[in-house]
């Protein structure tokens, strides 16, 4: 009896977990080249900027996009850093940012192009201490 109660509870939990929602998946954009640099380079704790360069398949700069940046540390429980920029000039976008702690970061860029299509790309950044 106990076993069946346990199994029933487990099945209920699995059913509940099946209700897990699906995240919105960005529409892939082909032939878009995304490069990201950091300023200062190498990255260190404090005020900074992300320099994103967008070019199309023929190497022409892509302006008019909207870029959302999200920085997460590799350790769980750290608050993300959120920033955004739009417009761009000659395909370059400068996004004011702040590295709040030294360590390993993941920066996720979500780029919405003028035609509404969206692409997401992740970059790894190692940030050193302010005095390093």
């Amino acid at each position: 009896m106990y076993f069946f109660r346990l199994m029933a509870a487990g099945l209920l939990l699995l059913a509940a977990a099946g209700c897990r929602g699906q995240a919105v998946t960005p529409t892939p954009v082909e032939n878009l080249s995304i490069e990201m640099a950091v300023d200062p380079d190498p990255a260190r704790v404090g005020e900074a900027a992300l320099i994103v360069t967008l070019t199309d398949a023929s190497g022409r700069p892509v302006d008019g996009a909207k870029i959302g940046a999200r920085g997460d540390m590799s350790h769980a429980g750290m608050a993300p850093v959120l920033a955004e920029a739009e417009g761009g000039q000659d395909g370059r976008y400068r996004i004011p940012f702040e590295w709040t702690m030294s360590g390993d970061w993941f920066v996720e860029l979500t780029i919405t192009l003028p035609d509404g299509s969206t692409v997401t790309q992740r970059f790894d950044v190692s940030v050193s201490g302010a005095g390093s």
Partner: protein
């Protein structure tokens, strides 16, 4: 047969039995523990599902955010303010009754392993694994760890008659055991005469035996008939005998003893926090128990040291001088030396110095065992400072993680604020300073009891050791923390 221990039992608690209070008393009911275990089991299942199927980004996955940030922060607070509630609600032991049905009767955990050496080894292994595999950054590996926990606890429960996993193996439980010695609650009894006259000793034997025990005589104060059989109540899984309990060590607070007692004589009593640390008879005088208390404090320091810049210098030096290429070996060396060998060697040295300075006849083992409980408050303070930092740095990020788990957009902007840095520093400082002062007071009291007029020279080595540990912890926490994988992982 109840012998001397409860006759000479010190007053370890007040007469206030929390199980006789409204609501809390429900825990004593047959399904009382399940009320805590079911939500935690549900949480564990969700963690495993998110760990395997969710985003493999630690900050956005329940499997990493809850165990490595929120659970640890809550655990230390609850241990200090209430008791070992996390062992009480532990979902890993939920299949215990099922395991009992399947178990082969009569097989006990090997005698040579009935101590804390295995628990010390499993703590060491957990810390090394945590760092070497960067568990804090990997939802999938954390989910595997949770699954491994369920399997290990179930298998050991099936194979052995007692709760071997809880008592001898579980690293989380061992942590809870040690620091629940500071808690304001403890299992105890109302009337020793009832226990003295009790024939069945159901608090430890349980009443699930297929062969009913023969009761020799009626017990005064008996409230209900004991019915032995498959539907009976298990006795204490860690083999503690309620009238003789003087410490929270090994007590999972499962309350099986209170449920099994046919006389309603077992309770969960309110006591002075850390009361047992003043009682020289509360802890066994064994090397394994002493090393556990001392090394757990040092492991807390090494664990925090792993997050500040000097650890990378140390790693580079070890790689350069010893030519170590294995990350496991590198981390194992740091934790093994810093968390086990060095503190134990220093404790033995302090014990030897105490003996030499006071010319006492007390053995080295008894000397170290007498001072070992003094390391509990400082050790707790170190863990409190570390876990408090992680908890306070972004306490509400759990909300957007849950939102995203449910398929909603996470409102990160609204729930990403951290507690003020000054406040975090004050909380950490308070944990360390109060822990150190409490430890020093305990060591002083021990020295007064052991050495009387020679108390000062007897205390001196231990006070210096505690001071060194506190200073080292203060230094580590004053450095900026880093969240980084280790060198060899790139």
């Amino acid at each position: 047969m109840i012998t001397a221990p409860h006759e000479r039992r010190a007053v370890t608690h007040t007469r206030l039995d929390a199980l006789r209070l409204p609501l809390i008393g429900l825990l004593r009911r047959r399904w009382g523990r399940l009320a805590l275990q079911i939500p935690l089991l549900a949480a564990a299942v969700l963690l495993v599902i998110d760990g395997f199927t969710g985003p493999q980004l630690a900050a956005r996955n329940l499997a990493t955010v809850i165990p490595w940030v929120h659970f640890r922060g809550f655990a230390v607070l609850v241990l200090l303010l209430a008791g070992n509630l996390f062992c009480m609600g532990c979902p890993f032991t939920l299949p215990r009754t099922l395991a009992k049905r399947l178990s082969v009767r009569g097989r006990r955990f090997p005698r040579r392993l009935r101590n804390k050496w295995v628990a010390i080894a499993s703590l060491f292994l957990l810390f090394v694994t945590y760092e070497a595999l960067d568990l804090w950054a990997s939802p999938a590996l954390t989910a595997w760890l949770i699954v491994a926990y369920f399997v290990a606890s179930f298998v050991l429960e099936v194979v052995f008659t007692e709760s071997a996993f809880c008592k001898y193996v579980c690293p989380l439980g061992t942590f809870n055991f040690v620091y629940s010695t500071l808690s304001p609650t403890q299992i105890g009894i109302h009337d020793p005469d009832v226990c003295r006259a009790c024939a069945g000793k159901e608090c430890i034997n349980g009443s699930y035996s297929p062969t009913p025990l023969v009761r020799l005589e009626d017990i005064p104060g008996g409230q209900r008939e004991v019915r032995h059989g498959p539907q009976g109540t298990p006795g204490c899984g860690t083999l503690l005998f309620a009238p003789q309990i003087e410490s929270n060590l090994d007590c999972t607070m499962c309350l099986d003893c209170a449920r099994a007692c046919p006389h309603g004589n077992v309770g969960l009593f309110i006591r002075q926090p850390g009361r047992e640390l003043l009682n020289p008879e509360a802890w066994p005088k064994r090397w394994d128990v002493s090393l556990l208390a001392i090394s757990l404090a040092a492991l807390g320091l090494v664990n925090a040291f792993g997050m500040v810049p000097p650890v990378y210098e140390l790693q580079r030096t070890l790689i350069k001088t010893l030519g170590i290429q294995s990350e496991w070996l590198l981390i194992g060396l740091i934790f093994g030396v810093g968390g086990l060998l060095l503190p134990f060697a220093l404790a033995v040295l302090a014990g030897a110095l105490s003996r030499a300075l006071t010319r006492t006849k007390l053995s080295l083992r008894h000397t170290v065992a007498a001072f070992a409980p003094a390391f509990v408050p400082l050790g707790f303070g170190i863990w409190f400072a570390h876990y408090g930092f992680h908890f306070l740095i972004a306490p509400l990020t759990i909300i957007p993680v849950i939102q995203e788990f449910l398929g909603q957009p996470g409102d990160w902007a609204a729930f990403s604020s951290a507690a003020d840095a000054v406040l975090i520093g004050l909380v950490q400082g308070a944990g360390l300073v109060l822990g150190f002062l409490w430890s020093l007071a305990l060591a002083n009291r021990t020295a007064m009891r052991l050495y009387r007029r020679d108390a000062v020279p007897g205390l001196l080595p231990w006070a210096l050791l505690l001071l060194a540990l506190a200073f080292a912890a203060g230094y580590v926490f004053s450095l900026p923390m880093e969240m980084r994988g280790s060198l060899l992982m790139g």
